[in-house]
Each structure stands twice: as C-alpha cells, then as structure tokens.
C-alpha cells in the first residue's frame, strides 16, 4: 500500500515527466472487466444505483470514464454485467455448500442462496427485473443462463415432461423474484423516530380511508425471511408437481 502511488493523476504534469507507467493506470494497476464490475457493484451497494455513472465509476477506479468502454460496450452492458456479477456470486455460494439430495431440497437450496445474495445487495436487486425485461433470453448474461440450466436440469432429472418442467421453472423464478422484491420494499419512513407508528410514517396516510392497512402496517414491516420463501415455494412445487 504505502509504496503505491495513491493518486495516479496527481502531480504537476510539467515536472512529472512520464507521469505514470501504463501498469499504474487505474488506481491499483490495470483495469479488467472483473475489477470494473466489482467496483461498480461496490459503488451501487454503497450509494445506490443512481450513483452509478460512467464518470463516477471511472473516478472510483482512478480512470477516465471512456476507459470503461474497453470492458463494457456501454452503460446498459455494464448493468447487465452487474446482473452477471450477482449470479456469479450465487454460483460461488452454491459451490461452497453440499448439494441437496432431492430435487425439491436442491431447489430450496438454490432459492435460499438466491435470496441471500439479493439481500446482500439490495440496491442492485431492481436490476434483476429491469434488465430481464430489457434483454431477450438468448442475450442474458452467461451466468444467468447457467443458472437456468441448473434449475432446468434438476427438473428434467426429476422425470417431469416438458410442459411440467416449464411450468415449474416459471413458478420457481416468479416466486423467487417476487418474494425478494416484496421483501425489500422499504417500510420505515423515518428511521430516527422511536414511536413505531411514526417510524412507519403512518400519519402520512389518510387515516379513515385505510383502517385495515393501518392496523396491520406494523406486522407488515416484519420480514418473511427464508421461512416465508420456503413455504411458498413448497406450496407451488407441490401443486405443480402433482398437476404437471
């Protein structure tokens, strides 16, 4: 650390001669797609999606914005890269665990791991829906497709016919993304407030028009957690495995 030039762009250009060797470019050496994506994800985790701009990310890496275009074709591709990064993290997490013995248990394991990755990067989760709605199947990041392959293999391996596999696959994905999205909806309006009702900002809602919502709002603010996730998934798999 101490030996590294802390800010590659500092110093008077008139006296510094060749200000930096090429390998010094970027705050800690050469760029790479992995470094760009890791830095982008970290930035999003720290400051939210809206803080992610090419210029800002460049600054984060000690580099001009245009340098990033060697590693992502544009901003959209960068966002797809973030999605890919999340799925790579999912693959790592799954690889670090023992596979379950039944297809049901294995799907539960995948679901749980996905949930955990999403909760670890809540600010990035919106990308899972928005980019998926922007990119056709065949252009999804490879890690996403590998995840699809994993789930589909599990289902066909369990002996379901094509129609059932498709139904189960869709239900699995739907429930997963829906559950996570619902789980991450912010409930607290004013974190500094002690009183639960004020914390939730209930005084902002038209009182008499929404009596039931007011009543259960506090309970709604709790999370369903992985139990809720597992319960719903179980219900769906039961039904569709029987029908299909």
């Amino acid at each position: 650390m101490a030996g590294e030039r802390p800010e590659a762009r500092s110093g008077d250009p008139r006296t510094a001669g060749p200000a930096r060797r090429a390998a010094d470019r970027g705050r800690y050496g050469r760029l790479s797609r992995a470094r760009v994506l890791a830095s982008a994800l970290e930035l999003v985790d720290r400051e939210g999606l809206s803080a992610l701009s090419m210029r800002r990310l460049g600054a984060e890496l000690g580099v001009e914005a245009m340098a990033l275009y060697r590693y992502a074709e544009g901003k959209d591709a960068l966002l797809d890269g973030l999605v890919e990064a999340l799925y790579l993290e999912l693959e790592e997490r799954l690889a670090g665990q023992a596979e379950a013995s039944s297809w049901r248990a294995e799907l539960q394991r995948v679901a749980r791991a996905t949930y955990e990755v999403c909760l670890a990067h809540p600010q990035a989760v919106p990308l899972l829906t928005t980019r998926m709605l922007a990119v056709p199947l065949a252009r999804r990041p490879l890690a996403v497709l590998r995840n699809h392959e994993r789930v589909l293999t599990l289902l066909t391996g369990a002996g379901f016919d094509d129609a059932a596999v498709v139904g189960l696959f869709r239900a699995f994905n739907s429930w997963l993304i829906g559950y996570v999205s619902e789980e991450l909806r912010p409930m607290v309006d004013n974190p500094d407030e002690e009183e639960p009702a004020f914390r939730l900002g209930l005084h902002r809602m038209p009182a008499h028009e929404l009596p039931v919502l007011r009543g259960v709002a506090a309970a709604l603010a709790e999370r369903g957690g992985t139990e809720g996730l597992a319960t719903g998934l179980d219900a769906l798999l039961d039904r569709l495995a029987a029908t299909g």
Copy 2:
C-alpha cells in the same frame, strides 16, 4: 377539434399579438395532473420508459419542460404518478366487474385484473418494482394504498388472524409481481426470423454448455397466461390459509 388551434406555439410572434390565451397553453388547453400522467403513460407505452423525459413529455403536451413541475414535484414523482395511473386503471377495471362471492374468488379476480393491466402496459411494469423499492410504504401513491386496503380487508373479512393476513398478503403480492415480471421477459431475439430457433437467437448461446435450456427454450417462450397465474395463486392461498 377543428376549432382548436392545432399548434399553440406556431405563428409569427411579431404579428400574432398576444399569441395565445392562457387557456390555450398546452397543445389542447390547460394542463392538469391527469393530462400530464395520461400523456406520460401513453408515451411510455408507445416508446418505452427511456423515452420519457421532462423535455420530451413537455413537447408531447405542447409545453416547456418546466411547466410539468406544477403537476409533479420532479421526475421521480412523475414516475410514482405513472404507478398511480396504473392502479387507477386497475380500480376502474375492477369497478366495471361484478365482485366475486368468496374471498378466494375475489382475490383471483383482483389478480387477473392486475395481470391484464400490466400486460396492457408492459413498458411501464418495471416501475412497479423499481418505484416500490424506492418509496416507503406510507409514501406509496394513494391508489396503491387503496389496493392494499382492498386486499387486506378481504383477508381480515375472511377471518384470518393478523399473522395469517400478513402472510397471505405478502404471498399474494409476491406471486403477482413475480409472475407478471416473468411473463413479460422478452424471449424473441429476432422477430424477422422464421425458423423458431433463430427467432429465439439460440445460436447466440454456447450450445454444449446449455443443452437442457436449448431443448425447452421454445416451450419457455410460450406464456403462462392467466391460467398459470391462477394456478400458482391457488396453491399459495391453499397452503397459507391452512397453515395460518
């Protein structure tokens, strides 16, 4: 129609005198929040979310961008307004139908109507997840809160205790938004292509690494439709109504 000035900003300002009466502002008379939101939604439906900018929407209404700030506090508020518009459309649709007799059937009716509204505005659907993740409960648009109230009322009216109500409510929302999101994922890569495999762009995927996905891709491209929606919802409600 014929009597209205087709383009309020046209004409030579040096000869036109007071170029327009105040009531002529905007392409068809005064602005209003409803008109702004309707125009925004139409623009999004027509050209996608990325086409929606303050300037562009202003032009659409025959008005400068800043004029819109009288009807929405900023771009984010405008997007929340779009979410509200979708829920208002849902309310209309529900009001135009007979209520179902059981709480189960009524939830199915609400789910189906929501699905239909979403499929009518596919380009706007990402807002349902992104804005929901950006806005705490108490600040959601009123129409959204009314929708929550409707569902919660249905559930408490059916006699469930608070814990069960919350579980069912969350499962309902999760499944709904997840199913719609999954349903709207684009599958076709090249609409001009005849051959199904090429249409899907399967040649872009690493063949040997994703054999199962390749095999079911065509089936995956079909939609689950309202049947799939109803089936999954039924499974969830069954399980959670029994457990809760």
